[in-house]
Symmetry: C2
Subunit: 341 residues, 2 copies
């Protein structure tokens, strides 16, 4: 089934069930007022939501037209957003671009950072930034929402706790990253609010594309309407979601509704880095990656980061070309402070 | 007023108002079911909670005996836990102990890490850890809970968004920190769940001790019943809470209920590091600090990290010796996995 969160006057919105083709929805308030409430008691809620989804597919019961512009991120705010960096290829490129060697442990011990989860952007919200000099970048990723995970869970147990799958735009301020990471405490100001896809889907909605704890489909990343990346999320993913979740749960339990991300999807091409789509490659899920390749191959970056007015779109299609999660589509805008409430 | 969260069968517990002397409480469900719900609509909720507090102090209306063992951390789970490191003295010592110079920017640009907030420990919960070799340590800190803070808020605006104050035990696994920080993405496994004081108080409860965005009182940190630290939270705090919150809000808004921590409270002694309480000093709010001083002064650490069975207590008294927030009191226990539900 597919779930989403309709905007209303509350902070957490209203849980709705969306039809597979994303044309219709039905309110799910009789089961749970919010997606977090459903996740808090998933064993009770999931079968009831599944029945609502069945009725919706059958065309019985009340439904309304679904509009992706009317929804929040599935969890407008969450208790946890932990983002892995499972495409180690991408990490190796980052290092090569600055002539640093990547520790070999990176192939066996996942990189993961604790992200801010108190205030996500809606999938069609603008990306507000104070200055283009921050080096505004998108990151096309996949993410899962988990049920409760006990401390010390194995990768297999952790994989079994996956309840929903989504896409993410993990907005990054590249210009702020070097100084921030040099301080040693990880990202903070360099990772502003992320946006998630309009719809979160159970793994069975992905059919054969969901296997081995990975989604074997490409997030389609476009910039100003031009395809920028279509790297396959199931390729070169060194750690699957079960492994990423188990990493997060090594020394503490994870609460239901925690979101675990894959990191920027990135594919190698043979033994080398990927190529732009315009050159017949699969492109990139973020601008930083093409800039790293330009640095390695041409002595310096050529592609600029996002400008005010640029529009980023991230979606994912099934084998029939139908959108699975709806589209994240965000325009970068200057933040002047007048937007403050 | 003083607020707390009574444990019940729900994940978020029940909001209660606690008497100033912490002997009585009254249910606040008529105002808001949970503390987060009150924070979501603080302008509406706060005056009503204040009236309940007044009635409780006057001895009118129903009340029950308050037992610190029956409460969660004020927010059993939160949308954000961002911990600063405002006692730069402490940071400088960490660096000196490993012969590294501290960048001078650390005196002007706050260090802050994004912590896990999905699953806090109750103030009397055990600290569960898989292995003593993790280097289990307490960190006695103060923290504030804020209202909504817009992106780009000034330190003054940010300071005005402070709604409640608490104590924290920011449990740290020192043995896991070096490898984790070397990976470059900050803390994750090395920062398991934190615990907060039984009670969160509005700043007016602190009287004169709350000024300049700081609490001018010492968190009293004890280990196995023996005083370990009484460094004053108002001394050597390079960044006040307004500045820490503004740092957190530089590139994104903060949602009501976000918790911002001070970092381990640490006082210098003249131009040098503090001394143990047994030597007439104010001691330390974490074991790592005395180990660093031992390393600098005696060539290596002498004080061990926490053992299974050790008990940490953190509280704070007013000028009359009365506890303000109640006591965090936690015993370290081996986690075998049998605790999994």
């Amino acid at each position: 089934m597919k779930l989403a969160t309709l905007k209303d006057s509350t902070r957490d919105g209203q849980l709705i069930v969306v039809s597979r083709d994303m044309t219709r929805f039905t309110h799910a308030g009789e089961v749970a007022r919010t997606l977090q409430a459903a996740l808090d008691d998933w064993g009770e809620a999931a079968p009831k939501l599944a029945r609502l989804a069945e009725r919706l597919e059958a065309g019985s019961g009340q439904s309304e037209r679904f509009d992706q512009r009317r929804v929040h991120s599935p969890l407008p705010r969450a208790y946890q957003w932990a983002d892995g960096s499972a495409y180690v290829n991408h990490v190796e490129l980052v290092r090569r671009a600055r002539n640093a060697e990547m520790p070999s442990a990176f192939w066996t011990d996942p990189l993961m950072y604790q992200g801010g989860s108190d205030c996500f952007l809606a999938p069609r919200d603008p990306i507000l930034a104070g200055d283009e000099k921050y080096g505004i970048d998108m990151e096309g990723e996949v993410a899962v929402i988990v049920d409760d995970v006990p401390m010390g869970a194995t990768a297999e147990q952790a994989g079994n706790a996956i309840r929903l799958v989504m896409l993410v735009n993990d907005v990054s301020l590249r210009g702020l990253i070097p100084d921030e990471l040099a301080k040693g405490f990880g990202f903070f100001q360099s990772k502003p609010s992320s946006a998630f896809s309009p719809v979160a889907a159970t793994t069975d909605e992905l059919g054969e594309a969901w296997r081995d704890g990975k989604i074997h489909l490409p997030p389609l990343v476009s910039l100003n309407g031009i395809p920028f990346g279509r790297a396959n999320a199931g390729v070169d993913m060194t750690f699957n979601f079960g492994q990423l979740i188990a990493h997060a749960a090594k020394t503490r339990a994870l609460t239901a509704g925690s979101i675990i991300g894959s990191g920027t999807v990135s594919n190698k091409r043979g033994s080398g880095p990927g190529k732009p789509i315009t050159e017949g490659g699969d492109g990139y899920s973020c601008i930083a990656e093409i800039r790293m390749i330009e640095t390695i191959e041409r002595g310096g970056p050529r592609t600029p980061y996002l400008h005010f007015g640029d529009t980023v779109r991230i979606e994912m299609n099934d084998e029939h070309g139908a959108s699975i999660f709806g589209a994240i589509e965000q325009t970068v805008q200057r933040y002047s402070g007048d937007e403050r409430q």
